[in-house]
Symmetry: C2
Subunit: 157 residues, 2 copies
């Protein structure tokens, strides 16, 4: 056993810092976990230039070819104004394309390009590895439980 | 019962959009929950100008007066370079102050000022209300379980 260090110079990992109030806040734990996940995601996909939101867009487009921009945004909880630069980014890199919707001049159907589909597959595999590593201390049932509990947090409360 | 709309114009809440891949990713759910919590937090504390990270710093300082800047950063998982503007922000607003540490010329002990302590209390009450509202669908046991599961996500994996 090492001698107990004075609190002010102790390492945070030794539990010498009191964090009673923060420890009781669910939001604090959600945000820390999210930051850790996003940081690792960014590191794993850095060379591809794909951030979590861009990947989510590619993923929805791969399963819903031709979805319109508004519905894509609502599905992912992205505000309309924020969708514009995100769509431009993916279009500028040739990963998605807009097609006219017959009979609706204001709507655009979004599709993955061939390069976009390949990018999705590449990201998909790396993200699977990233999740396995980050979540190695959670078994399958615990992962499902975590998703279930997170789903009860009310975005419209 | 309303008639089933064609998928591309359906509302996302009606489950017409397939999100099979994303739905299976824990990281996606953690990030969405975090974004929702942070957005509501920001809204509730907007007039006070306190973001989650700044509140976390005030909270740790209220429980650990005199903690040094490095340990505060490590406790909260904030990188050293990022701590500098955060500490400057709180100091500039008169919420915290630096005091010399006797015998260590390179270290600074951080303390809440009287205004900082008052700000912490004000934030504290609003955040309690924010959490109660956002988490109304989770009972006490589920909140504890959620915190426990989030703690198993490995930041150093």
């Amino acid at each position: 056993m090492t001698e107990r260090m004075p609190q002010v110079t102790a390492d945070a990992n030794q539990g010498e810092v009191r964090a009673g109030h923060l420890s009781g806040l669910v939001g604090y734990h959600v945000r820390r976990a999210s930051n850790a996940m996003v940081a690792d995601f960014a590191e794993q996909l850095q060379d591809l230039g794909i951030r979590p939101t861009l990947f989510a867009m590619l993923s929805i487009l791969s399963e819903n070819p031709g979805i319109n921009q508004g519905l894509l945004g609502r599905t992912l909880g992205i505000q309309r104004a924020n969708m514009v630069p995100l769509v431009s980014d993916l279009m500028g890199r040739g990963l998605i394309e807009r097609r006219d919707v017959p009979g609706d001049k204001r709507a655009f159907a979004l599709h993955l390009t061939r390069a976009g589909a390949a990018m999705f597959e590449q990201c998909h595999d790396r993200i699977a590895a990233h999740e396995d590593r980050m979540l190695s201390r959670l078994d399958e049932a615990e992962r499902d439980q975590l998703i279930d509990l997170l789903g009860k947090i009310d975005p419209d409360a």
